[in-house]
């Protein structure tokens, strides 16, 4: 990658700015985003045309979130001899991302200077798109001093056209169900998020857009009286979904992240009502199998919080649970007996996870399955430089965010880990592989009860 020297850049910028000023009395450059409406896991091409040749410009993306924060990303480019900048083909020389990064304007987004600390970007209303404004400015370092030359708006959707969203409140089970368009019935996923965030629907909406009935289960809101009651809640949820007319009963899988993966392990290892081939497969992202027997999830959290004094705080005072987590899972009696699991499993982890020893957990799962002669059931993905929050692709990376400790008013900033570029690559790669794993086990594999 060749670097552009500063004085030369300033000269170029001035010359281009003069030319552009003259031009904008005539006509400005054209910025286009193709496709302008897409699902959040789809790529787009950002192209600027009609610039003077060899012109330093900055491409800037801006998003105003539902929480009323502003997020941005930008890359510094130089137009070619045709006066074109192609984010897909050209190199960014600096900004929030560098190099050839077609989607850098999305995944490298971060709160604008002056924002509150520890923010996290998540879409709550999945029926409307995320709006991203992409603009082109002349110059590099001082691009903010000038009004944009051109801009365009991109819509990023979690829901494909025709996907139906249904609130579920049945037999005490609460959550949101997403059904793909078409006659059905469909392979299905029980989708579970992590602790401390409430009900998040966006991954389920996206899975439905990819052809799966997906149920985002709300499992932390209510106070379960005992571990048994809580376990029954999950089994009931699983059965409600399995018996839904749009669901193929023997093609139901479970997908969980963080605490959600604990639920996935727990349900799959111990349920007696869930029989052969059900769940058909499970995907555990940032796997966590810590679940002291006889405790509810909230009680488990309480036990965890007793170890907070052992938490490691980094130079920014961000809190990491990883080290005391390691101590806790060292005692196998604290953990779900994952060796009991009999279905195909995909574990996705970030090697720089600072929140929980998820890689060590995955190692332990592999060891236990190997002992039971079931290693063939396991697929593992471990990404160097990725953190705990492995989300659908192109969403910004959060190395640390505000977190409210359950049952207390205490706010901390939790360290999730990960380095932005590596983490974003992991999100993109893992999503593709998760979808491919789900397709294999839920769409393509023949039904066990097939007639020979």
């Amino acid at each position: 990658m060749w670097s552009v020297t500063r004085p030369l850049l300033q000269e170029c910028t001035l010359a281009c700015y003069r030319l552009l000023s003259a031009m904008t009395q005539a006509v400005p450059p054209i910025l286009s985003i193709t496709p302008s409406r897409a699902l959040v896991d789809e790529k787009f091409q950002v192209l600027v045309e009609n610039l003077p040749p060899g012109c330093p410009v900055t491409l800037h993306s801006l998003h105003h979130s539902e929480d009323k924060d502003d997020w941005e990303a930008y890359g510094h480019y130089v137009s070619d001899h045709r006066g074109v900048v192609s984010v897909t083909e050209d190199l960014s020389f600096g900004g929030t991302y560098t190099g050839k990064e077609p989607m850098g304007l999305l995944w490298s987004m971060r709160p604008v200077p002056g924002s509150r600390e520890g923010l996290r970007l998540r879409k709550i209303n999945v029926c409307t798109p995320m709006l991203v404004n992409i603009s082109v400015h002349s110059g590099h370092e001082d691009f903010r001093d000038r009004t944009p030359l051109a801009s365009a708006l991109a819509e990023r959707w979690y829901m494909a056209p025709g996907v139906k969203r249904i609130d579920i409140n049945k037999q005490g089970v609460q959550g949101t169900l997403f059904i793909p368009p078409g006659p059905g019935p469909f392979p299905t996923l029980l989708d579970m998020w992590g602790g401390g965030v409430g009900l998040l629907e966006y991954r389920s909406a996206l899975l439905a857009s990819r052809g799966y009935v997906s149920f985002s289960l709300d499992y932390l809101r209510s106070e379960h009286l005992s571990a048994d009651v809580e376990f029954k809640y999950f089994e009931t949820a699983f059965n409600i979904i399995r018996n839904h007319p749009q669901v193929i009963p023997d093609r139901v899988g479970i997908l969980g992240i963080s605490l959600g993966s604990t639920v996935a392990f727990n349900l799959t290892a111990y349920s007696t009502i869930i029989k052969v081939n059900v769940p058909r497969c499970i995907v555990c992202i940032s796997s966590n199998h810590y679940h002291p027997p006889g405790t509810t999830l909230k009680a488990g959290f309480k036990i965890l919080s007793k170890h907070f004094h052992k938490a490691h705080f980094d130079e920014n005072n961000y809190m990491s649970w990883r080290s005391f987590g390691l101590d806790l899972i060292a005692d196998p009696s604290n953990n779900v007996e994952v060796g009991r699991i009999n279905c195909p499993m995909l574990l996705v982890n970030g090697c720089d996870d600072q929140n929980w020893p998820t890689v060590e957990t995955a190692e332990e799962v592999a060891r236990l399955l190997r002992e039971g002669g079931k290693e063939h059931l396991l697929s593992r993905l471990a990404y160097p430089g990725a953190g705990h929050l492995i989300e659908p692709p192109f969403s910004p990376h959060f190395r640390a965010t505000k977190f409210i400790i359950l049952n207390s008013k205490k706010k901390v900033i939790l360290l999730w880990g990960g380095h932005t570029k590596a983490h974003s690559d992991a999100q993109e790669d893992s999503w593709r592989k998760i979808l491919s794993f789900l397709q294999l086990h839920l769409y393509h594999s023949p039904s066990v009860k097939a007639k020979l």
């Binding site: 005539a26 045309e49 040749p53 056209p161 368009p181």
Partner: protein, 435 residues
């Protein structure tokens, strides 16, 4: 589940696209060699249902890719990536003479695409598809704004692209059916042009006073556009279809106020009483009404009304005086206007005057009169109510569906490039070569 289940995965990418964007329709995980029908269904705003379908055979990997594999039957055949849209026709039992046109362009056209077992040709309503997806086709890109215009007595709608601007401007005129037709202007705004669709035959002022608009009406539209803070006043073009061509050529050559950077004339003619008002031009056409012919299906053919092309210079816009680039789009099977003959005459006039370097003619064999934005269905004839006659007639537009659809796709692409080159710069001739 007792039977071995093969779940067919149908996908359409992008699921939300602009009206002129291509999509990829893919079926996966079908039984290799199996026969399948892919069908598109759309219910338009006036409640009529339209369908298109192709017959396919899954390959050895169990895949059908509509952009690579041939349809061997249905409403289109061969490798036709967009056949499911341009070959739309009213479902059996519909009334005749229908034409698909979207009025509310702020919502998308919704199309359901489904895959059925076997090669089906009818009775789809009674069949259960194997899989189905919903697709949205938009006239407006995100961020494009629609602004109604009533200033100066205009009945118009301005579509502004997203961004600070300023943008080159466009005046968009349709033909004898009147009404405020917005979709082409909306789509052009999605390509970076501040486009104003104008109703000049059934404008509010005409409906209220009974009087046709005069030439000042168009000059007012030009001024309003030119003075808009987000419009680049020195880069304005005009696009007209059918009777809209008559207005466009007249304004381009004779108006003291309107200075065009480019003009696009689709399916029209330069034949008109020079310096006539809209009303006078219409009366001139009516005078030749006895030249109306009828097809064997009793469809009205109006192409002879202006034939033969007169030699009298007072009956033709003097295109030799044209000072801006002109793109003429002609369907050689146009049964409504003598656009091909007119184009030839225009070419001759400009050659004699020495300004033929400004002229580009796109002439399409077997294309008809209604050369619209791509991937919308071809209507060889449809019912029409013009401002001149009270009752509806069945008008023959002409064109053969396959060639007409190809003409729409090709003409649109070239038209957008023509407008970009003449309105956005042309300093870098290779800038838009990828289009």
């Amino acid at each position: 589940m007792q039977l071995s289940l093969r779940l067919k995965c149908l996908s359409v990418q992008p699921s939300r696209g602009l009206m002129d964007e291509k999509f990829i329709v893919l079926v996966q995980n079908a039984l290799p060699g199996s026969q399948l029908t892919i069908r598109a269904l759309h219910q338009c705003e006036d409640g009529h249902s339209w369908e298109a379908f192709g017959h396919y055979t899954a390959d050895t990997t169990g895949t059908i890719n509509v952009s690579e594999d041939p349809s061997i039957g249905g409403t289109y055949s061969g490798v036709e990536q967009m056949g499911l849209l341009w070959s739309f026709r009213p479902i059996p039992g519909s009334k005749s003479g229908l034409r698909m046109r979207k009025k509310n362009i702020q919502t998308p056209m919704e199309v359901t695409i489904s895959v059925y077992q076997g090669h089906q040709t009818e009775g789809f309503a009674d069949l259960v598809p194997l899989s189905g997806v919903a697709v949205e086709r938009w006239y407006m890109a995100p961020g494009v704004r629609r602004i109604p215009v009533t200033e100066g007595g205009l009945t118009a709608a301005l579509f502004l692209p997203s961004g600070p601007g300023p943008f080159p401007g466009l005046l968009d005129l349709w033909g004898g059916g009147g009404q405020l037709v917005e979709y082409r202007a909306a789509l052009l705004a999605s390509h970076g042009f501040a486009s104003m669709a104008i109703d000049y035959l059934t404008a509010k002022i005409t409906m209220e006073t009974g009087k046709m608009v005069d030439n000042q009406y168009f000059e007012t539209a030009y001024r309003v556009l030119q003075q808009h803070p987000q419009v680049c006043g020195s880069k304005i073009a005009m696009i007209g279809l059918s009777f809209g061509t008559s207005i466009t050529l007249k304004m381009a050559v004779y108006s003291e106020v309107i200075k065009l950077s480019a003009a696009v004339c689709i399916s029209g003619s330069h034949v008109q009483p020079v310096d006539g008002s809209v009303e006078e031009i219409l009366r001139f056409f009516q005078k030749n009404g006895e030249k109306t012919r009828f097809s064997e299906k009793n469809e009205v053919i109006w192409r002879d009304l202006l034939l033969p092309i007169p030699t009298d210079p007072s009956l033709k816009v003097n295109v030799g005086r044209l000072q801006c680039p002109l793109l003429l789009v002609v369907g050689e099977d146009d049964q409504n206007w003598p656009s091909q003959e007119s184009a030839l005459d225009i070419k001759e006039m400009m050659a004699r005057a020495g300004n033929s370097h400004l002229l580009t003619v796109l002439s399409y064999p077997n294309a008809g009169h209604l050369i619209e934005p791509p991937y919308t269905p071809h209507a060889r004839s449809s019912t029409l109510k013009t401002v001149e006659i009270e009752e509806k007639v069945m008008c023959l537009w002409g064109g053969q569906t396959v060639e007409h659809s190809r003409a729409q796709e090709d003409a649109w692409k070239k038209m957008v490039v023509f407008l970009k080159e003449n309105l956005y710069g042309g300093r870098n001739p290779t800038s838009f070569s990828h289009l």
